[in-house]
Amino acid sequence: MTLTRGHVVIDVEACKGCDLCIDACPPGVLVMTEHTLNQRGYRYPLLLPGCTGCKACSQICPDFVFQVFKLAEPIDLQAQEER
């Protein structure tokens, strides 16, 4: 069971596809798109369940793509999906 404690809002159009957030994310909940591109032609990050709101992505991002939130209560999103 992986609790999701945080959330990010991603400014998809600001992203330049540099991948730094992917490696920076400690729980590894960011993955880049493979085929879907933003308006400027870059791949951008997608969010999986398990975010902890640690801000590593927003701190490492050169393009200010992320807004980071801590949820009011942790939630088990895997359980939600299975239902």
Binding site: I10, K16, T36, K70
Partner: protein, 271 residues
């Protein structure tokens, strides 16, 4: 609440929607710091400079120095970034930011005056300027964004390029006997009595960004407390100038640049 964390399928993956956050979620980090006007800059993907400058501006704001902050920019990729700042800026010539900062600080002693310069600007063209400014103990904070190349002109060797580093004029890697040896600018400046705080940090990982912020804060505090000249060298990624992929740049920085230009506080007369 959980229904706002909706899931969707993109490229075959089940992911969370990231257009909005739940109304009761707490914002812990915003898109852009207060002193950056617009989010869109056109520095390369994976460039470390905007990360570094974000840190500098956030620290200035956290120190309550916004309404007396004046930045002096050198010439490099970061020059265009000054157009994105809601901070007063004097644009200087290549290498000449430290004396401009000196002139500003001498006539506005209460201002918080800092320079943003690359290694090409400061260590090549402007080495004399920063050394004298430090020796005189001018109460300004000079920041060197060190990526070991002249990024703006396309990736050429500078005084801080490390041995083995490939650049357009050292295609086989910098060879000390042929191409000379890198200058460790922070260590050079630390030897000057007028310099009261000298530190080297980097922005290649989130943890290092946090360390960098602490060093930047200490540097500005030295200026605000009228101690002496303060200097922060920030190693930044330049995948374009290093001719590598963006995701490889943080590791390249650790393995190559940080091995020569070692991280840490080099000097703190108050420590």
């Amino acid at each position: 609440m959980s229904e706002i964390l909706r899931q969707t399928r993109i490229d075959g993956k089940l992911v969370l929607r990231t257009e909005t956050a739940p109304a009761d979620a707490r914002l812990v980090d915003d898109f852009t710091p207060r002193l950056i006007d617009v989010g869109a800059h056109h520095l390369c993907p994976g460039c470390g400079e905007p990360i570094a400058m974000r840190s500098v501006l956030e620290i200035i704001d956290e120190l309550g120095a916004t309404d007396r902050a004046i930045g002096v920019f050198g010439i490099g990729c970061y020059t265009a970034f000054s157009n994105n700042l809601d901070c007063e800026v004097a644009q200087a010539l290549h290498g000449r930011a430290p004396p401009v900062a000196t002139g500003i600080k001498r006539v506005h002693p209460n201002a918080v005056v800092f320079t943003i310069q690359g290694d090409g600007d400061m260590a090549n063209e402007g080495l004399q300027e920063v050394l004298h400014t430090a020796a005189r103990g001018e109460r300004v904070t000079c920041v060197m964004l060190n990526n070991g190349v002249f990024g703006e002109t396309g990736g050429h060797i500078t005084a801080t390029t490390v041995i083995g580093q490939r650049t357009k004029n050292t295609l086989d890697g910098r060879d000390g006997r042929k191409d000379g040896y890198p200058i460790r600018v922070s260590d050079l400046i630390a030897q000057l009595d007028g310099a009261s705080f000298v530190a080297r940090c980097t922005v290649n990982t989130a943890g290092n960004v946090a360390n960098a912020r602490r060093m930047i804060q200490r540097a500005f505090q030295h200026q605000i407390d009228d101690i002496g000249f303060s200097f922060v060298e920030i190693l930044t990624m330049c995948p374009t100038g290093w001719f590598i992929d963006t995701a490889e740049a943080p590791g390249y920085l650790t393995e190559h640049l940080a091995a020569t230009h070692q991280l840490g506080v080099v000097k703190d007369t108050r420590a």
